[in-house]
Amino acid sequence: MSIEIRNVSKRFGAFQVLNDINLDIRSGELVALLGPSGCGKTTLLRIIAGLESPDQGSIVFHGEDVSGHDVRDRNVGFVFQHYALFRHMTVFDNVAFGLRMKPKRERPSETQIAAKVHELLGMVQLDWLADRYPEQLSGGQRQRIALARALAVEPKILLLDEPFGALDAKVRKELRRWLARLHEEINLTSVFVTHDQEEAMEVADRIVVMNKGVIEQIGHPGEVYEQPASDFVYHFLGDSNRLQLGDEGHILFRPHEVSLAREPLAEHRRAEVRDIRPLGAITRVTLKVEGQGELIEAEVVKSHASLLGLQRGDPLYFRPAAGSLRSAS
């Protein structure tokens, strides 16, 4: 089911949270709303779900304007950052909740409900936890139960608010890969909110970068990374260095887009090594350049020739890679 967001604006008191947002999400897409906290991404998600109403604009699901529809009539699955599982219900009852709340004539029998719940728990690989209470589960398990609960009513649209934000790094990585696979399998239209660019890059088909209530750029992960539409997008989608060029302004480049040498080379600038950090496959070198306070970070493979025997305080010569330059005023 496609989602169209038309001229949506929202303000909380004096604070303009969303300013004339327009966005088309195609059926079956997995879209990330990416931005710093306070950029309005969660509010936009809640407006799509019907938990908040926009001051202006409309939400259209598959050609039908649902702006006036109540939350419960929109049939969207929603996963909260802090799970929002019903604490006094077992895992089974949590997942069964949506089916049991259906009006009598649409409600499946308890046997059918049990079958459906066990099918969903099997899908999230937690069938053995059916009789536990939420407080007895780990964060990752809770989030998977929350997902199973949201999917029980067979929504056409799945909305996820920072779904992995409260989990530790390793579980987060596992879960987001799992989510991407799941999205492939059950063919939903999914929108998820995140402030983690790596997460957005890894999971989403398209990324919507937001800042201060407006959309900065919409594009595929490669697109927003390689061809950022603004300085904000460039900064937000990865680490960046700023190199001062006398009075002519400065250029921006990413830490890995750099050439390093121990000897003076053409077009290379001289710098002093401040720090050397081996980070696994790559090593990060922090450089101090004459004439600017801001330090430069360079990342190269750990076997790079220039790293051999390199010590703090040594001179090093660097040049931002030619294709990567981004001039700014």
Binding site: L51, V71, R72, N75, V76, F78, A84, F97, G98, M101
Partner: protein, 294 residues
């Protein structure tokens, strides 16, 4: 290296033990003191009430509490409880819902006003009703024209009881519901629950123990209320006397045995309520510690 650590830790352990011994003396003194105060100010009066009541044997005791005026007082007390507690339950849930789920202007004022009956003397609360509904009161004439008696009648007693017990349920629920937030309710809505289903299947189970605790406190206060009820009652025997008022009348008539007999009836009710409170409190504490662990 490891042996050094072992020695140091043993030493530290010894020091901690010594410190604990010093603390133990103070601790035991405090505990004994607490029990003494408890015995002197709570158990002894309790014993006195019962021994006074039974001084002339069980027969006199039962005559005193089965006397028609005493039965009428018990009935009126239970009636006041039966009306004021459910109404306060409704009001408490509604007020707590308002305060914890919505943002609106004047919210802190509302929360402060809920506490008003705690800070105002019950006598003043009673006087307010006399001034409003008494014969010379604000609504006095209007009520008289329609032959409605509020002050010095049962409605006045119920109103006064209502006023003094207003804060109990709301006070108990507001912090609990604020801590729990609105996400579970939102999740229920998103899963297709209507307002009533959401309230009944999600909100009520979450606040159940706080609710019971509030109701128990409210019941205890409603049964024991003296000041406000005394002002509006008029002390008409067998008609507008509640149990506490009846006790006072008997006592003032130097009918000590009867006074203490009826008092022990009130005491028995209070003890039942106390047990209920203890039970719900324990459940509530467990619930909150679970929530805190999350």
């Amino acid at each position: 290296m490891s042996s050094i650590t072992a020695v140091t830790s043993a030493k530290a352990h010894g020091n901690a033990n010594a410190a604990r011994c010093g603390h133990a003396l103070g601790r035991n003194l405090l505990i004994i003191g607490a029990w003494l105060v408890f015995a002197l100010f709570l158990l002894l009066p309790l014993y006195m009430v019962l021994s006074e009541a039974l001084k002339q044997g069980l027969g006199v005791f039962f005559t005193a509490i089965l006397e028609p005026d005493a039965i009428a007082a018990l009935k009126l007390t239970l009636l006041a409880v039966a009306i004021s507690v459910p109404l306060n339950l409704l009001f408490g849930v509604a007020a707590a819902w308002c305060v914890s789920k919505y943002e609106f202007r004047g919210k802190s004022l509302l929360v402060t006003l809920i506490d008003l009956p705690f800070s105002v003397s019950p006598v003043i609360a009673g006087l307010i009703y006399v001034l409003l509904f008494g014969a010379q009161g604000f609504f006095g004439e209007w009520l008289q024209d329609r032959d409605i008696q509020i002050v010095f009648a049962v409605p006045g007693i119920v109103l006064a009881t209502l006023f003094v017990t207003v804060p109990f349920v709301a006070r108990e629920l507001i912090p609990l519901m604020q801590e729990q937030g609105t996400q579970e309710e939102e999740a229920a809505r998103l899963l297709g629950a209507n307002g009533w289903q959401m309230f009944w299947y999600v909100t009520v189970p979450n606040i159940k123990w706080g609710l019971i605790y509030g109701v128990v406190l409210c019941t205890a206060r409603a049964m024991g209320e003296f000041g406000a009820v005394s002002v509006v009652s008029g002390h008409i025997r067998g008609y507008t006397n509640t149990l506490p008022l009846h006790v006072e009348i008997l006592y003032n008539e130097y009918n000590h045995v009867a006074a203490f007999s009826v008092a022990s009836l009130l005491l028995a009710l209070a003890l039942c309520i106390l047990l209920l409170k203890q039970w719900s409190e324990a459940r509530l504490a467990r619930l909150q510690s679970n929530a805190a662990e999350e």
